[in-house]
């Protein structure tokens, strides 16, 4: 039964995949190779000399308990950002999908935050929660809660998670809404005729049909929380207080571009490369099995 269409000869297929391969080589394999190569050296910042240290940079990293702790911080941060950006997005999408009047305006408003750059989002949230002049921290103070993310690690984490997830909700909302609208009405109607109420229909019919989208968003959001939340953390906490919001990517930046320690920074990039590679493999191998296309 398995009908396969094959090309005759090699030239056409090679030509067709060449652009993608070329882009991957130039923008991925070459820099990744460079990072791996550089991770074996301790160079001086000006590139005047470079000492080969083998795996010395990795040894240095993993003997640092703060670096190891940064893995936990990153995991907590990524899980929180992913959850906080996907669950509200799904809820909003379900609500927007039911709207009959004014849905266009409603959707546009929900998509807006996505247009705000992460660094700007960081500044906005920082202002609202500023311990001195922030609106939110003032209200919290009225309620008797002393907000101080400058010294309280948990609050700092909460703040960067909210600031990172906020803009992302829009992005997830878009995808969920599109997926919801692709759910065949007939299936839902059939369930309704069988007597299933809205939430019952949602859990048993709609959600499974959304799973490919949810899976896609899960992968994309985890990658986002790993790499693109840098701007938010840089503007709000700079990794502090203590190291409570220093995620792996932030440390790559801080060591490489503030500390001028390019060897360690390269080694950290390599570690990150493996972590994200591993996560993606796990996701596709185990979670994807539960996804119905």
């Amino acid at each position: 039964m398995n009908q396969r269409v094959t090309f005759r000869g090699w030239w056409l297929p090679i030509l067709l995949i060449a652009p993608q391969v070329l882009i991957s080589v130039i923008f991925f394999f070459y820099p990744a190779g460079q990072a791996i190569w550089q991770s074996l050296f301790i160079p001086d910042p000006f590139g005047l000399s470079s000492v080969f240290v083998g795996l010395g940079n990795f040894e240095f990293l993993f003997s640092d308990k703060f670096y190891r702790a940064s893995f936990v911080t990153t995991a907590v941060f990524s899980i929180l950002v992913t959850l906080c950006s996907m669950i509200p997005a799904l809820f909003l999408a379900v609500m927007a999908d039911r709207l009959i009047k004014g849905s266009g305006t409603y959707r546009t408003m929900l998509i807006w935050p996505y247009a705000v750059a992460p660094a700007i989002a960081g500044v906005l949230w920082l202002f609202m929660f500023n311990t001195r002049v922030g609106v939110v921290s003032w209200y919290l103070g009225q309620l008797g809660y002393d907000w101080n993310h400058v010294l309280n690690g948990g609050e700092a984490m909460g703040l960067v998670v909210i600031a990172s997830a906020w803009g992302r909700i829009s992005y997830n909302f878009l995808f969920f809404l599109a997926a919801l609208q692709a759910v065949p009405r007939s299936v839902i109607e059939a369930a309704a005729i069988d007597g299933a109420r809205f939430w019952k229909r949602f859990w048993t019919v709609v959600l499974p049909l959304l799973s490919p989208t949810a899976f896609f968003l899960l992968v994309v959001n985890i990658v986002y929380s790993f790499f693109e939340t840098f701007g938010v953390i840089h503007t709000i906490t700079s990794g502090g207080p203590q190291q409570s919001t220093t995620i792996l990517v932030y440390k790559v930046f801080a060591d490489g571009f503030v500390g001028q320690d390019l060897g360690s920074s390269a080694a950290q990039s390599v570690v990150l490369l493996f972590v994200v590679g591993l996560l993606t493999v796990i996701q596709f191998k185990y979670i994807e099995k539960k996804v119905h296309y």
Binding site: P45, V51, R132, L151
Partner: protein
């Protein structure tokens, strides 16, 4: 390549009749924006107008870290400027980069511009001078921490604004009185590591690191977990716990609180003058930084913060001559005195300080001289020349982290500083192996 050459030739022939002697360009990258950026631009314009052989082109490259990074990246791409502004913590990085920088004294010798190393204030130039006594870069903006006092807040809390605040002992008493008098923010600080560890150590003449704070070699180790530092941080930690010291952040966030009149005492750079004078709607005063009476050789002298100008390798002799002329111009008495009075930064030459005093500026602006006196009262010792530690930007970051652990009560001062030493030493060893 050939194409470019012929292009250049054509261009040269075309334009040469118009511009017979094009001035040699000297590129200067700095980190100043706002008012300071305007003042730098004005200095450059004045220099360019004062002669026709050289033209200095100034470019803003971002904050201190970004400017240093741009300089390093440009050097790697062989497009480095002639003069690069580097903040004080980047000093060891620049010094270790032999082959990337040309020491200032060599540039001055080559250019033949007027240059007398003895004219510069010891405590200022010490930070940027080799162990042999040669100046490696030109101190540009230098400041030192002082104690800012909100006199109105003191009076409101029932504390005599003229009370003695010269020692931490008496500050401790004042803080208790302020708190009791209803003041919610008795003490706030900026740049905690710079003021409460680096300057603290120099001021009490106790070592911050071995090998003369790194001046005498790369094999230096931190000694910031010594009894004097730990005692001070323990006291500060207790004040934080009692709500007498309010922590606002790693940089100068506290300045906003103080300028808004919310805090009574504020330890901050003398260069905070311009901002405080402009915004404060209360009666303020500058006092010398407090010291612990009976600890070390206090009060010794405080050390500086700020930036210096480094000349980079890889340019022609003519360009170095131009760079030398410009640096000499910046050090001249009138330019320096004006800069000192405009910004609150320290004068880098004794003559500039004298000229400022003679002009009556100190008499009209009370307290502006405090920083100068505090810096120059005593001859700097091996512990109070400054710091020369590699990867220091990173080390300061980890010190900030450990200090936060003290303020939040997670660690005792001793635990935090032991941890800072351990982590900092690891970075120092890495820097040593990268720059052997």
């Amino acid at each position: 390549m050939k194409k470019y050459l012929s292009g250049a030739l054509i261009a040269a022939t075309l334009f040469s009749p118009i511009s017979v002697a094009e001035p040699t360009e000297v590129h200067f990258w700095h980190a100043f924006t706002g008012r300071l950026g305007e003042l730098v631009a004005a200095q450059v314009d004045d220099f360019n107008a004062s002669q026709s052989d050289y033209k200095v082109v100034q470019t803003h490259k971002g904050n201190y870290s970004e400017t240093l990074n741009s300089g390093i990246a440009a050097f790697r791409a062989n497009e480095q400027p002639h003069i690069l502004m580097v903040f004080e913590v980047g000093t060891a990085t620049m010094m270790a980069a032999r082959g990337a920088v040309r020491p200032m004294h060599e540039v001055m010798e080559l250019s033949g511009a007027e240059f007398d190393q003895d004219a510069y204030i010891g405590a200022v130039k010490g930070y940027y001078t080799s162990t042999e006594g040669d100046m490696l870069s030109l101190p540009f903006n230098a400041s030192t921490p002082v104690l800012w006092v909100n006199r109105d807040a003191m009076a409101a809390a029932g504390v005599d604004p003229d009370t003695d605040l010269s020692t931490w002992q008496s500050v401790g008493t004042a803080l208790t009185a302020l708190k009791a008098g209803g003041e919610e923010c008795p003490l706030v600080t900026a740049w905690q590591s710079w003021i409460h560890l680096e300057n603290f150590s120099a001021y009490h003449d106790v070592p911050f690191a071995t090998k003369d704070n790194g001046f005498a070699g790369l094999d230096t180790e931190l000694t910031l977990n010594g009894p004097a530092q730990v005692a001070h941080l323990s006291a500060m930690g207790q004040w934080a716990k009692d709500g007498k010291f309010i922590y606002t952040g790693r940089r100068n966030e506290g300045g906003a609180n103080f300028r808004a009149g919310e805090c009574a005492l504020f330890t901050e750079s003398s260069a905070g003058y311009a901002g405080i004078k402009k915004e404060a709607e209360f009666d303020f005063e500058v006092r010398p930084l407090p010291y612990w009476k009976g600890v070390g050789n206090s009060p010794q002298n405080t050390i500086i913060g700020g930036a210096s100008l480094w000349v980079m390798e890889g340019h022609s002799d003519a360009e170095y001559t131009g760079a030398g002329e410009f640096l000499s111009y910046l050090s001249s008495t009138d330019v320096q005195a004006q800069w000192h009075q405009d910004t609150g930064y320290l004068p880098i030459t004794a003559a500039a300080g004298d000229a400022t005093r003679a002009s009556g500026f100190y008499a009209e602006n009370l307290g502006t001289e405090v920083a100068v006196i505090q810096m120059t009262a005593n001859k700097p010792t091996a512990n109070s020349n400054g710091l020369r530690l590699g990867s220091y930007d990173q080390i300061r970051g980890l010190i900030d982290e450990e200090l936060e652990a003290i303020w939040s009560g997670d660690k005792s001062a001793q635990e935090a500083m032991d941890s800072a030493k351990e982590r900092g030493d690891a970075l120092l060893r890495r820097f040593e192996s990268a720059n052997r």
